[in-house]
């Protein structure tokens, strides 16, 4: 498996998606296998979506919200944080490496922080080098 790990990034409209735009304006570079999905708030991301992405073959999922206390919707990122614990427990139960899911905070003026989070996660997943779930492995096997 020489390809770069495919990472789905859920970015909130107000901070991290804006930071991703700014990363472009600042011409920061990060791995090309990251796919950003814009959501209004990190609190919008249902744990099922994270599991769904891993099942469908994503090597990792990162949810990026505003810094705690700076949520555009008062406490959406706190909800995301609470859910992240549930997601982590579920991943453990399913035998999925904890590295495959990450929650992080980036403000709209921190494109470097976002790019670095992307690079770091990609590097961590490179070290794992196996499909995230059995289902994903089956899917990959069928394709081959």
């Amino acid at each position: 498996m020489n390809r770069e790990p495919v990472i789905l990034a859920f970015c909130c409209n107000w901070c991290s998606y804006a930071a991703a735009d700014l990363a472009g304006i600042s011409r920061l570079q990060y791995p090309g296998s990251i796919r950003i999905i814009r959501v209004m708030c990190s609190g919008m991301v249902h744990p099922e979506m994270v599991l769904h992405a891993l099942n469908k073959g994503a090597d990792g999922v990162i949810v990026v919200g505003c810094h705690l206390g700076e949520c555009h919707y008062i406490k959406g990122n706190e909800m995301a944080l609470a859910r992240a614990e549930i997601i982590a427990d579920t991943l453990e139960d399913l035998g999925i490496a904890a590295e495959r899911f990450q929650l992080t905070w980036v403000s709209s003026s921190e494109p470097e922080r976002l790019a670095e989070a992307f690079r770091a996660m990609s590097a961590r997943l490179c070290a794992l080098r196996a499909p995230a779930t059995a289902e994903a492995a089956d899917a990959a096997g069928e394709e081959a």
Binding site: Y17, G24, G32, I36, Y73
Partner: protein, 1026 residues
């Protein structure tokens, strides 16, 4: 003036960015606008630029939506090829005679098919490309021009010069739009006010032989160079030497050509923008050609604006642009191969010679003679530098009541200052003409919307090249071919600029021709451009929400610039994801609710008071909160403006006007404690004193919370009583305190706390401030020895005059570098200042009676709490971060909240006042709408899936979800979850919580997110398949 004779229409002269902004703000505030432009299309100078500083945005991309908006606004009438001949009447009721020159093409008939131009036999030099490319005698000014109508250049046209010859265009024009008999016409326009946004012209360096311009082909102006770098320019964005088309190895930028020069031209002033645009051009080259050696020869690097200093640092340290402090007076040829030789004196005082391939002359800005004549005719006073003479206190008012000015005609300035000026002029007009608002405007009903809910999706995909921003990295043809294979994609198009007027027209056409009912635009970011495309969908008669953008520029081409294959593959994925999402998009209707017609202004300094007064004059109720016991803010410490106007008198009058205005209510010792609501209907809790609280309802907010001053920790401040900060010195000076009165020797130290590692920004007004104090000291007693120790003197614009005056008076300016700051120690009766003298190349010791520190301006630490309450971003330096540094300088991404003054960035008084007026214009424009359309991206309950578990109710931060009881058809009492449409903000926390997928935010439904995930992970071409 009696209201019955006032006219609710406005003339804006000049279709550049400043005039366009004024026109848009006015047209949206209830006034009809005539936008008069002397050339064939609006846009001014900006469309000629490749990129803009300091964001490096592509100029065309950011101006395009504004061009389109002007072009399609029902209350803006664009009059091109038109000039103002005369203005008569008075404020409120002017008659303006406008001469419309013949276009020879009927704009009502021209479909811009371009057949005329392709068949026209006559080519001439193209002034849009500064004579480096050809255009035909029948032409459009630039491809994205608004209006997109051809015009004939009568000087070049064979038929117009020789009536019996040629005429091919008329023969082949499909709609028969060509009319060689066009004579032009005169119009008498009745308007209530006039805004002069007359703009500038670049200095012509061919006036002297010194720079070799016009003599040696490899000497070009910065504007020509801008065209070289532009993807739409004569070389398609490829850098090559004009003389032999060879690649360039060494480039020299010569600054201050036609600026700060009383010898070769009479332009004493600093043109303000050249340092930054030279850095921008240098950066652009270094990005594309890292091996090219780029040197900028300058006198002072003037980068005082927001984020400018970082930009300069980046150019120096990250990109290796070389900066040499030396003014170059001449360019000579070297050999006969086109090389050029430069002589200069380096920092060590040695004569140095250098050879370069290309010399770029950073030409200044000046007012065209014709504009000076027009101003004289109308009776507008001009400065000795030939700009409109304006008071710092009324920065958009001319000497003629009812006639306003903005943009570079008010003095050389950059795009944000011009945009701010345009809005400020609009605010001033709005205050004048408020009684006749909405009397001349019309509202066009939108075209009927077709119901597409039962139609099979027919998706149109529009892929933007964005000049070369996207197409230079991504293989757009491959992406387009791929998009066409996706299910339900009925149409794919590629466009040079998808946001330009012609593409909007094309999109409307194709939606109708191909029966499209969903649109994907693969371009830049929805955060800036989705509103434009929504309007296009609306005018095409389909619901404006049936669009999805694939961000293939900011989040693809720009972040994978070195990996074109990766970027192309990713672009395909992003398009596939957008198609998958838009397929599940449903029509939505915004909820319209009334706006509370009042404004909360936070901060009672000059910016806050100016905004409050203007909005009160516009007819709105104002709550002005001030945290101290008196109005005035930082201006209480100011004595005079740069051109010597008396601040305390102005401040007194402003305070009285604010305190006496019946529509302004001032709360002292008051701060904002809590905020709720949204644009149009905010509810804010104001705390007065330590206990009293009250709630205020308002439709908009202006943040003008000012700044703080830096308390120096260096230069023995606080330890030696003769070392003081500028503001303290002003007070001592004003009272002629003994230290000042008896002082014989004064040393000013600049950049104290500014432009440091910790605070890498310039505080903008300190150079001017110190020079003014120095001049005053010198005038009082010419025998005084006065020294200004500086890193760069930044008397930008017409302030240069006082710098020259100071030097002529014998004030000594000594340069120091950041790594070798002056050293201070106590002496018997004074202070000893030691500094390295760069002219004499030895340390210099100055005995000073007083040392004055030009201390930095710092962000107000209270901004953090306010930013948090209103959900606004702050910059790294702690100032409020506006929505867009260039074109949205007083707005935020959060609607209904605006910023002005020092809260935004350090600036002199007149810029604070301009910005306050601009913020008032935006707030006024919002309130003039009377009702607000709330984004319909709110949560909707799916009754099929919802089982009333009520988990969503607890997590909703806005208490928008309730459990309602109802009786079903059999009379049984049941409960159901309902969402309040006004309270819901569409965050989707409910959606992330619901265990049954029973609640979804429209536009971001679980089904849509799932479809995006599936599409992202479905590889178009498996590994190794290519």
């Amino acid at each position: 003036m009696p209201e019955r004779t006032m006219i609710g229409a406005v003339l804006v002269v000049g279709g550049g960015i400043s005039g366009m902004q004024a026109a848009l703000d006015l047209a949206d505030s209830g006034y009809f606008v005539y936008l008069v432009e002397k050339t064939g299309a609006i846009g001014g100078a900006m469309p000629q630029y490749n990129k803009v500083f300091p964001t490096n945005d592509c100029a065309m991309c950011i101006i395009s939506p504004k061009l389109v908006e002007c072009g399609r606004h029902p209350n803006i009438r664009i009059m091109t090829l038109s000039t103002v001949i005369d203005i008569t009447g008075k404020a409120g009721n002017f008659t303006v005679r406008v001469l419309e020159h013949p276009r020879y093409v009927d704009p009502a008939k021209c479909i811009a098919c371009g057949q005329c131009s392709s068949r026209c036999p006559r080519s001439v030099d193209d002034s849009f490309n500064i004579f480096m490319a050809k255009r035909k005698a029948i032409y459009i000014k630039y491809p994205q021009a608004v209006p997109l109508k051809y015009q004939i250049d009568p000087e070049a046209c064979i038929r117009l010069q020789h009536p019996e010859k040629c005429g091919i265009c008329a023969e082949i024009c499909p709609p028969g739009a060509i009319d060689f008999t066009d004579l032009g016409r005169e119009h008498d326009l009745r308007v209530g006010a006039v805004i002069m946004a007359l703009g500038f012209q670049p200095f012509d360096p061919g006036k002297t032989r010194a720079w070799g311009y016009g003599l040696y082909p490899n000497v070009v102006t910065s504007l020509q160079f801008e065209r070289f770098l532009s993807p739409g320019g004569p070389t398609g964005g490829v850098l090559a030497r004009p003389s032999d088309r060879k690649p360039v190895q060494r480039i020299a930028f010569l600054q201050c050509v036609g600026s700060r020069d009383r010898n070769r031209c009479n332009n004493e002033y600093c043109s303000t923008v050249c340092c930054m645009y030279a850095i921008k051009e240098a950066l652009t080259i270094k990005e594309a050609y890292p091996e090219v050696e780029v040197t900028i020869f300058y006198m002072d690097m003037r980068t005082p604006g927001k984020e400018f200093e970082r930009y300069y640092e980046r150019a120096r340290t990250e990109y290796g642009v070389r900066f040499v402090r030396s003014r170059i007076h001449g360019v000579e040829p070297k050999g006969n191969k086109g090389d050029l030789r430069l002589h200069y004196i380096n920092a060590h005082g040695k004569q140095v010679e250098e050879t370069v391939d290309l010399v770029v002359l950073s030409v200044g800005l000046e007012t065209p003679d014709a504009m000076v004549r027009l101003a004289e005719k109308i009776g507008i006073h001009m400065t000795p530098d030939r700009f409109a003479s304006i008071s710092a206190f009324m920065p958009v008012h001319t000497s003629q009541k009812g006639i306003f000015t903005c943009g570079a005609f008010n003095g050389p300035r950059d795009i944000p200052q011009s945009v701010i000026g345009g809005s400020a002029a609009a605010a001033s007009v709005s205050a004048l003409l408020n009684p006749v608002r909405h009397t001349q405007t019309r509202t066009l009903p939108p075209p009927p919307e077709q119901d597409v809910s039962r139609q099979e999706p027919r998706i149109g995909v529009f892929i933007c090249h964005c000049g070369t921003n996207i197409a230079g990295v991504v293989d757009v043809e491959e992406v387009a071919a791929y998009a066409a294979t996706l299910p339900q994609v009925a149409h794919v198009a590629r466009n040079l600029f998808t946001c330009s007027q012609d593409t909007q027209d094309l999109m409307v056409q194709q939606i109708s021709d191909k029966g499209l009912n969903r649109i994907v635009v693969a371009a830049c970011t929805p955060r800036t451009h989705e509103p434009l495309f929504r309007k296009t969908l609306k005018s095409a008669g389909i619901n404006e929400y049936l669009i999805e953008m694939a961000n293939i520029r900011n989040q693809n081409a720009w972040v994978h610039g070195q990996e074109p294959e990766t970027a192309t593959a990713k672009a395909k994925d992003l398009v596939r994801m957008a198609v998958a999402k838009v397929r599940r998009q449903t029509a939505r209707k915004p909820l319209r609710i009334p706006i509370t017609p009042s404004v909360l202004v936070i901060g009672g300094g000059v910016a806050g008071m100016t905004a409050a007064l203007n909005l009160a004059e516009q007819g709105y109720r104002i709550h002005l909160t001030e945290k101290t016991t008196q109005l005035g803010g930082n201006a209480l410490h100011l004595y005079q403006t740069w051109n010597g106007e008396h601040v305390p008198r102005f401040l007194k009058e402003l305070k009285e006007a604010v305190q006496q205005h019946p529509r302004i209510e001032v709360s002292y010792t008051s701060t904002v404690a809590a905020v709720s609501g949204h644009v149009g209907n905010f509810t804010t809790l104001i705390r007065t004193g330590s206990s009293r609280k009250r709630t205020i309802d308002h439709g908009a907010v202006i943040i003008a919370t000012g700044a703080k001053r830096y308390i120096p920790e260096e230069f023995e401040y606080g330890k030696i009583p003769k070392v003081v900060a500028s503001i303290e010195f002003d007070k001592l000076h004003m009272h002629n305190e003994t230290r000042v009165a008896n002082g014989k020797s004064f040393v000013f130290i600049q950049c104290v706390g500014s432009r440091t590692q910790e605070r890498p920004y310039c505080s903008k007004s300190c150079c001017t401030h110190s020079i003014q104090s120095a001049i005053k000291l010198k005038k009082e007693a010419p025998s005084r020895q006065i020294y200004i120790l500086y890193r760069e003197i930044r008397t930008y614009g017409q302030r240069e005059r006082i710098y020259n005056q100071a030097r002529e008076m014998g004030i000594v300016f000594i340069n120091y570098e950041q790594h070798g700051p002056p050293r201070i120690r106590r002496a018997d009766s004074g202070v000893l200042v030691e500094v390295w003298d760069h002219v004499l190349h030895r340390p210099l010791e100055i005995r000073a009676d007083m040392v004055i520190l030009a201390a930095a301006t710092l962000a107000n630490p209270e901004a953090v709490a306010l930013a948090n309450m209103f959900k606004l971003p702050l910059s790294k330096d702690g100032f409020f971060q506006e929505a867009h540094a260039k074109l949205r300088p007083v707005e935020f991404h959060v609607d209904g909240v605006f910023v002005a003054g020092l809260a935004h960035y350090p600036k002199p008084l007149e810029e604070s006042i301009s910005q306050a007026l601009a913020a008032a214009a935006k707030a006024g424009r919002l309130l003039a709408r009377k009702e607000i359309a709330l984004e319909p991206n709110i949560a909707l309950v799916d009754p099929e899936r919802c089982d009333d578990c009520a988990l969503c109710i607890d997590v909703c931060p806005y208490r928008a979800i309730k459990l309602a009881e109802y009786r079903d058809s059999e009379g049984t009492l049941r409960t159901t979850v309902t969402v309040d449409r006004v309270l819901c903000k569409g965050c989707g926390i409910c959606q992330g919580t619901c265990p049954k997928r029973g609640i979804d935010v429209a536009g971001f439904t679980t089904a849509q997110i799932e479809a995006q995930i599936d599409a992202a992970l479905e590889s178009p071409a498996p590994e190794g398949a290519i």
